[in-house]
Point group: C2
Chain length 261, copies 2
C-alpha cells in the first residue's frame, strides 16, 4: 500500500491527487489530529512525531511513504530516509522541480505556513537546482484556519489573500508554489489575485505525478504496492470538522478510523 | 503554589491577571504546546490531556488548580473535581457570574472558539443562573490565529471582528463575554466594534478576582499557597512564537521551561 501521513486532514489533498492519478493502488493514510498542527511546533517534536507516524504506516502495510506535511517534510525527511528501508516521497521536492522547469522570467513566489517559510526550505531547494533564480516567499498563517473555517469564498478571505499575495505580485513572479497542502482548496481564489498568467504549482498534484513516474520505472515496487484491499484512512483524533474537511477534499464522505497509535 | 494549565500560552493572560491581583502567591504554569490547540480536538482527547496536565501540576507543588483553557474547562472540570482532592477554578464560571450580575437589559453576548461555542457551555451556565436572560453566541475561530500572527491592529483584524460582532450588535447585547483566554489581547479592538456602552467581561480577570475572594475566606489554604519560591512556567514544547506571545502577555520576557511530562 501507499503510506501517506500528515499532521491532520490537509494531506488528504495528496491522497486525493494520488488516487486520481493511480486509482489501482490502495492507500493507508495517517492524520495525527491528536497533536495537530505541526507547523507551530519545534523541530525536535516534529521529528519525533514523523518517526511515530512512519512506524504506524509501515505496521499497517505501507511499502512506500509520502510525507504529506510540509513541516515534517522540511525537518524530518533526511532522518527518516536514513532510519527506514523504504522509498520516501515528500511534498516539497516535486513542486520545486516543477517550479524550476516552469519559470520563464526566473522569478518564483512561494507561500506557506510561518514554519515552512521560516525554514527557508523551498528557497534553498530551488536555489540548489538553479542558483540564478530569484525566490520571493510569503508566510500566510491565516490560510489554514480560513480553510478549516470553511470561508472558501468570503470577502475577508479574498482581502487576506490580496494582502499576502500583493508583495509577490509586485515582484512580478511568473510562478507561484502553493507550499501547504491546504492551499489547493483556495486555488481558485489565489489565481486571479496573483495574476491570470502566473503558473500556480500545486504541491499535492506534483508529488502524485512524481510517484506515478517512479512507479512506471520500477515495476517491482509497483507490483508490491498494487495489492488487493481498500484504502484506509486513520486519524489519531476524530471530530466533525475533520470529517467535513475530508469530505470537502475528496468530494465524498470518507470513513475515518480512529486509532491510538 | 497556584497551578494553572492551558493548551498553550493563551492561558498566561490568567497567570498575569492572578499575578496582578495576588502578587505574593507563586504560580506553577503548564502550557501543553506539544499538543495544542485543544479546541479542535475530541472531548475524549481533551479529558485525557487535562488529567495529564493536572497530575503534572500537582507533582510540581500546586495546591489548587486553575483550568485556564476554555475547551478543557467545559468538558473536563467535573471529572477533574471528582478525581483530585484539591480546589479547582476555571475560566468559565466566574465570567458567567459577572455577566449575570452586570447585564441590565438581560441580553448577553458570548464569543469564543468554535469548540467552546458549539459546546454551549456559556449559554447553559448563564441560563442555569438566570433562566430569563437571552444569550447570543458567536464562534470566532480566526481570532486566536490573528493574535498569534500578532495582527493586533490590522485592517483585516478589524474587519473580521466587525463581521463576527455584527450579529451580536444587532441583538443589542449590553454585556459581552470574552470566552477565550486569547481575546483580552484584542479587547481594545473589540470594545469600539461591539459598542462603547457594552460591558466587556474578561474571563481571565474574572477568575483571578474569584480566586482572590476565595483565598480571603480560606486563610488555611491561602497560607499553604503562599510559599517561598519564584513562579515557574513549564511548556511541553518551546518555540520563538510562544516566547513572543508570553512576553506580549506579561509585558516582560518569561523564562519558559521545556518539559516532557
Amino acid at each position: 500500500m501507499i503510506g501517506i501521513f500528515d499532521s491532520g486532514v490537509g494531506g488528504m489533498t495528496v491522497a486525493r491527487a494520488v488516487e486520481q492519478l493511480l486509482p489501482d493502488y490502495p492507500q493507508v493514510y495517517f492524520g495525527d489530529l491528536a497533536r495537530a498542527p505541526y507547523g507551530p511546533k519545534s523541530r525536535e517534536r516534529i521529528i519525533q512525531y514523523s518517526f511515530d507516524n512512519t512506524k504506524f504506516l509501515l505496521e499497517h502495510g505501507a511499502k512506500i511513504i509520502i510525507i504529506a506535511c510540509n513541516s515534517a517534510a522540511s525537518v524530518a525527511t533526511d532522518l527518516l530516509v536514513e532510519a527506514f528501508p523504504v522509498p520516501f516521497f515528500e511534498v516539497i521536492t516535486p513542486a520545486v522541480r516543477q517550479a524550476v522547469e516552469t519559470t520563464g522570467s526566473g522569478r518564483i513566489g512561494v507561500i506557506g505556513t510561518l514554519a515552512t517559510i521560516r525554514s527557508g526550505v523551498y528557497e534553498r531547494k530551488i536555489l540548489a537546482e538553479a542558483p540564478t533564480l530569484k525566490v520571493f516567499s510569503a508566510p500566510c498563517p491565516l490560510l489554514v484556519p480560513l480553510v478549516e473555517e470553511g470561508w472558501l469564498d468570503g470577502r475577508e478571505t479574498k482581502m487576506i489573500l490580496r494582502r499576502y499575495l500583493q508583495p509577490l505580485k509586485l515582484q512580478q513572479v511568473d510562478t507561484l508554489v502553493l507550499g501547504c497542502t491546504h492551499y489547493p482548496l483556495l486555488r481558485e481564489l489565489i489565481q486571479p489575485r496573483i495574476g491570470r498568467r502566473v503558473r500556480v504549482i500545486d504541491s499535492s498534484a506534483a508529488v502524485a505525478e512524481e510517484l506515478k513516474t517512479f512507479l512506471a520505472s520500477t515495476p517491482a515496487v509497483a507490483n508490491e504496492l498494487r495489492q488487493v484491499g481498500p484504502s484506509r484512512y486513520y486519524v489519531s483524533d476524530i471530530t466533525d470538522a475533520a470529517r467535513e474537511t475530508a469530505a470537502r477534499i475528496f468530494g465524498r464522505p470518507i470513513d475515518l478510523i480512529r486509532t491510538d497509535a
